[in-house]
C-alpha cells in the first residue's frame, strides 16, 4: 500500500470502480496478522514508556542497581529456543503444506509453547531467589522495576500461550487446517516480537 499515493488522490474526480471489482484491503495479508502487527506496535509503546520511566527514575540519587542473576541467561536461552521452535514449525508447515498434531510442525509448535512455559517458570524462580536474598520491591526502585518489567513481559507471553493453547487444541481435534496454520504463524510472529522485547529489557537490566 502506498499511503502517500492514496491520500493524494482526488476522489471527487473519478466515478466508477477504480481498482476493479475486487475489494482492496490495505495490506495483502489475513486480518489477524494486521491486528497482531497493530497490537505489537501498541505493546512496543507500552514497553518503550516503561524503559523511558526506568531511565528517568534512575537519575534519582537513591537508585541502587540490581546485580543480574546468572539464571537470566539460562532463561534467555530457553526463550530463544522457544522462538526457534515456532520458526521451524512454520517453515516445516510451509514445506509440507499442512500441519497435524503429530507431524513435525505440530511437535515443534508444542515444544515451542512448552519451552515458553519453562521460561515463565524460570523467571518465577529468579524472582523467588531475589526475594529470598532480600531484594524486595520496597528496598529499591531498581528492584521494583525488575519485577515490573519481567512481570509485564511474562503477562504478554501468557496471552500468547492462551492463543497457542487454543491452536494446539484445534490441532489435536484435527479441525480446520488453515486456521491452525494461521494460528501457528501468528504465534511465531508474536514469539519473535516478545523475544526482541525481552532482549532489550535484559540488556537494560544487565547494563544498568
Amino acid at each position: 500500500m502506498s499511503f502517500y499515493r492514496d491520500v493524494t488522490r482526488k476522489p471527487w474526480n473519478t466515478v466508477g470502480l477504480p481498482e476493479g471489482i475486487e475489494p482492496r484491503p490495505a495490506f495483502n495479508m489475513p486480518n489477524e496478522k494486521v491486528a497482531l502487527i497493530i497490537f505489537a506496535t501498541c505493546a512496543s509503546v507500552l514497553f518503550s514508556l516503561l524503559v523511558v520511566s526506568y531511565f528517568i527514575r534512575m537519575t534519582v540519587g537513591d537508585w541502587v542497581p540490581l546485580a543480574t542473576p546468572t539464571m537470566l541467561w539460562v532463561n534467555t536461552g530457553v526463550l530463544v529456543l522457544s522462538s526457534l521452535c515456532f520458526h521451524l514449525a512454520v517453515l516445516q508447515s510451509r514445506k509440507t503444506g499442512t500441519v497435524r498434531f503429530g507431524s513435525g510442525a505440530g511437535l515443534l509448535s508444542l515444544a515451542g509453547g512448552l519451552l515458553a512455559v519453562l521460561f515463565i517458570a524460570g523467571q518465577y524462580s529468579v524472582s523467588g531467589q531475589l526475594l529470598a536474598a532480600g531484594h524486595g520491591l520496597r528496598v529499591n526502585a531498581a528492584n521494583a522495576f525488575f519485577y515490573l518489567l519481567t512481570g509485564i513481559h511474562v503477562l504478554h507471553l501468557l496471552g500468547g500461550l492462551w492463543v497457542w493453547g487454543r491452536a494446539q487444541l484445534r490441532l489435536a481435534l484435527g479441525a480446520n487446517v488453515d486456521r491452525a496454520r494461521l494460528s501457528l504463524e501468528l504465534c511465531a510472529w508474536y514469539w519473535h516480537f516478545l523475544l526482541v522485547i525481552w532482549a532489550i529489557l535484559f540488556y537494560l537490566l544487565a547494563s544498568t
Binding site: 492514496d6 466508477g16 470502480l17 475489494p23 482492496r24 484491503p25 489475513p30 501498541c42 509503546v45 488453515d178
Partner: protein
C-alpha cells in the same frame, strides 16, 4: 493459506447469526447492538457525572446550603465528574458507540472483522464502569485526587478515597484500556482491510477518518495511562517508590523514598493530551458529515480535511508538557511545547474554515442536527481561541490555576464534543430506529443547551481574569476577588441547573419518538454515504441483504450540476469517467 478478503466471505457471518433473545440483544456480536450497548452505558454514566457537576455548582454558587457537601465530597465529585466525562462518556460514546455503529455500515461490510472480540470489548467496558461506580460504596468513597490523579496527592493518607477509591479507579482504568484495545484493534483492522469494493481510503467519509485516526491515537496513548496506573498501583499496594517521594504524611514520615511525581505527570499527559484529540477527531469527522449533508454541499477541501486530521493526530503526541508549565520545567522545554502547541492551531483552523466554507452558499437546512453542528463551530472557535492564550507560557502561568482554564477546556472539549454528539445522535437516530424525532422538541433542546452553556462558561473566563482559583471548595481569604464574583457564581449555578434540566427534553424526545415518531424511511436526509443505503432500516443483522454494495464515487456528491436529485449515493453506478478529463474533452 490463500487470502480471502472479508467482503468476499459472505458465508462467514452466518457463524454468529443470533439465535435467541440473549444472543441477539445481550451477548450480541452484532456491531449495531454493541454500539447501542456502548452508547447506553456511556450516556448512563454521563448522567451521573452531570449530577455530580450540579452538586459542585450548588456548593460554589450557594456555599454551605447543601449540608452534606463537605470538602471531601466536593473533591470526589470533581474527580469523578472529570474522569467519567472524558473517558467513560466521551471516549466510549464516540469510539465504542459511533465507531461501532458507523464503521461497518459506512465501509460497506457485514460486521467488524472480529465480532467476538468486539463483544468482549463492550463487556470489559461495562465491568470497568461497574468497578468505577463501586468506588462510591467502599469505605472512604471514590478518590478525590482530581481527574489527573497526580502523585503523591492521590495515594497519600488524608486525600479523600485513599482508602479504597483510588485502587478501584486504577483497576477500572486498566480494565477500560483492555476494553479499548480490543475495540480499537477491531476498528482499525476493519477500516484498513474490510472496505467494500470501490471504497478507496480517499472515498471514506470524514467520520471514518476521524474515528480511525482517533483510534490509532488511543492505541498509542492509552499504554501511557496503563503504565502510570500499574506503577501507581505498585506504589499504593506494594509500597514501591516509582512516583512517591519521601515526605511527611499526616505528621509522620512515610515509607517511600526517591519517587518522581514529575515522571507521573509526564506519563499522564503523554496520554492526557492525545486523549483530547481522541475525543475531538471523531467529533470533527462526524460534524463534517452532518454539515455537508444538511448544507447539501460537498465538504470543502476534502483532502485538506483528511490531512488535517492526520496532522493533528501526529502533533498531539508532541505537546503534552503544555499541561505542565507550572511544574518547574526548563524554560526551553516550555518554549518547545508552546511552539508545537501553537502549530496545532494551523490544521485546526483549516478545518474550521472548511466547515464555514462548506456552509457558504449551501442550501442550508436548519434542522436539529444542523443547529447542533453549527453550534459546535461557535463553541469550538471560542474554546480554541482561549487555547491559543493558554498555550503560551507567559499567559498560562498566571491563569493556570484559575477558572479561565476551566472555561477553556469545558468549551473546547466538553461542550463542543457534546454538541457534536447531539448532532450525531439526532442525525443517525432515524437510521438506528426507523423513526423521526420531534423537531420542535429537538430545536428547543438545542437552544436551551447552546445558550445555556454560554451562560455557564462565558462568565467563567471573566472569573478567571479576576483570579478566582479553580479546585477550591470555598473562597476563604481571597480579598483580591470582588464581592460581585459570588453573584456571578450563583448565576452560573442557575444556568448549569437549567442546562442539566433541559437535557430531559432529549430523553423525552428519543423515547417518545421510538413509538410515536413518524416513519423515517431509509434515507430521510437525502444523504450519500453507505449507511443510508441499507435495504432495511434499521439495518438487519449482516447489514446488506444478499449482496454487498459497490462504491462508485466519493462520499460528498451533493448538488452535482446536471443531476436530477441534489445527491448521488456512493453506491449509485455512473458512467465511468474522470470528471476533469471529461471536462477537458468537452472544452
Amino acid at each position: 493459506m490463500a487470502y480471502v478478503p472479508l467482503a468476499d466471505q459472505d458465508d462467514a457471518h452466518a457463524l454468529h447469526d443470533p439465535q435467541s433473545f440473549v444472543t441477539k440483544y445481550i451477548w450480541s456480536q452484532d456491531h449495531k447492538v454493541i454500539a447501542i450497548q456502548y452508547g447506553g452505558t456511556a450516556i448512563f454514566v454521563g448522567l451521573i457525572a452531570l449530577g455530580l457537576s450540579i452538586l459542585m455548582r450548588l456548593q460554589l454558587g450557594f456555599p454551605d446550603t447543601v449540608s452534606w457537601i463537605d470538602p471531601a465530597f466536593y473533591y470526589q465529585a470533581v474527580t469523578m465528574h472529570g474522569m467519567i466525562m472524558v473517558i467513560y462518556l466521551l471516549t466510549a460514546l464516540f469510539l465504542g458507540g459511533f465507531g461501532n455503529y458507523l464503521i461497518p455500515l459506512m465501509c460497506g461490510t457485514r460486521d467488524m472483522v472480529f465480532p467476538f472480540l468486539n463483544m468482549l470489548s463492550f463487556w470489559f467496558y461495562l465491568v470497568s464502569v461497574i468497578i468505577l461506580l463501586a468506588s462510591f460504596f467502599v469505605p472512604g468513597g471514590p478518590t478525590g485526587a482530581g481527574w489527573t490523579l497526580y502523585a503523591p496527592q492521590s495515594i497519600s493518607h488524608g486525600t479523600p478515597g485513599s482508602e479504597g477509591g483510588i485502587l478501584l479507579m486504577l483497576i477500572s482504568l486498566a480494565v477500560f484500556i483492555i476494553a479499548f484495545t480490543m475495540g480499537g484493534l477491531n476498528y482499525v483492522t476493519t477500516i484498513l482491510q474490510a472496505r467494500t469494493r470501490g471504497l478507496t481510503l480517499m472515498r471514506l467519509p470524514l467520520s471514518i477518518w476521524g474515528i480511525f485516526t482517533a483510534t490509532v491515537l488511543g492505541l498509542f496513548a492509552f499504554p501511557a495511562l496503563l503504565v502510570s496506573a500499574i506503577m501507581m498501583g505498585f506504589d499504593l499496594v506494594l509500597g514501591t517508590s516509582f512516583f512517591m517521594p519521601a515526605m511527611m504524611e499526616l505528621g509522620a514520615q512515610n515509607d517511600h523514598e526517591g519517587g518522581s511525581p514529575i515522571l507521573f505527570q509526564h506519563l499522564f499527559w503523554f496520554f492526557g493530551h492525545p486523549e483530547v484529540y481522541i475525543v475531538a477527531l471523531p467529533a470533527f469527522g462526524l460534524v463534517s458529515d452532518v454539515i455537508s449533508t444538511h448544507a447539501r454541499k460537498n465538504i470543502f477541501g476534502y483532502r485538506m480535511m483528511v490531512w488535517a486530521i492526520i496532522a493533528i493526530g501526529g502533533l498531539s503526541f508532541m505537546v503534552w508538557a503544555h499541561h505542565m508549565y507550572v511544574s518547574g520545567m526548563n524554560p526551553y522545554f516550555g518554549f518547545f511545547f508552546a511552539t508545537t502547541t501553537l502549530v496545532i492551531a494551523i490544521p485546526t483552523a483549516l478545518k474550521v474554515y472548511n466547515w464555514v466554507l462548506t456552509l457558504w452558499q449551501g442550501n442550508i437546512r436548519l434542522n436539529t442536527p444542523m443547529l447542533f453542528a453549527i453550534g459546535f463551530i461557535f463553541t469550538f472557535v471560542h474554546g480554541g481561541l482561549t487555547g491559543l492564550f493558554l498555550g503560551n507560557v507567559v499567559i498560562d502561568v498566571p491563569l493556570a490555576d484559575t477558572y479561565f482554564v476551566v472555561a477553556h477546556f469545558h468549551m473546547v472539549m466538553g461542550v463542543s464534543p457534546v454538541l457534536v454528539l447531539f448532532a450525531a445522535l439526532y442525525h443517525w437516530y432515524p437510521k438506528m430506529t426507523g423513526r423521526m424525532f420531534n423537531e420542535t422538541l429537538g430545536k428547543t433542546h438545542f437552544w436551551c443547551t447552546f445558550l445555556g452553556t454560554y451562560a455557564i462558561y462565558l462568565p467563567m473566563h471573566y472569573l478567571g481574569f479576576l483570579g478566582v482559583p479553580r479546585r477550591y471548595y470555598e473562597m476563604g481569604n481571597t480579598d483580591f476577588i470582588p464581592e460581585t464574583a459570588q453573584a456571578l457564581n450563583a448565576n452560573i449555578t442557575l444556568a448549569a441547573i437549567f442546562v442539566a434540566t433541559a437535557q430531559i427534553l432529549f430523553f423525552i424526545n428519543i423515547f417518545w419518538s421510538l413509538k410515536n415518531g413518524e416513519k423515517s424511511g431509509g434515507n430521510p436526509w437525502g444523504a450519500t454515504t453507505l449507511e443510508w443505503q441499507t435495504p432495511d432500516t434499521p439495518p438487519k443483522h449482516g447489514n446488506w441483504g444478499e449482496e454487498l454494495p459497490s462504491v462508485y464515487r466519493w462520499a460528498y456528491d451533493y448538488s452535482v450540476p446536471g443531476m436530477d436529485k441534489d445527491f448521488v449515493p456512493q453506491n449509485e453506478p455512473g458512467e465511468e469517467y474522470e470528471k476533469s478529463a471529461h471536462h477537458h474533452k468537452g472544452a
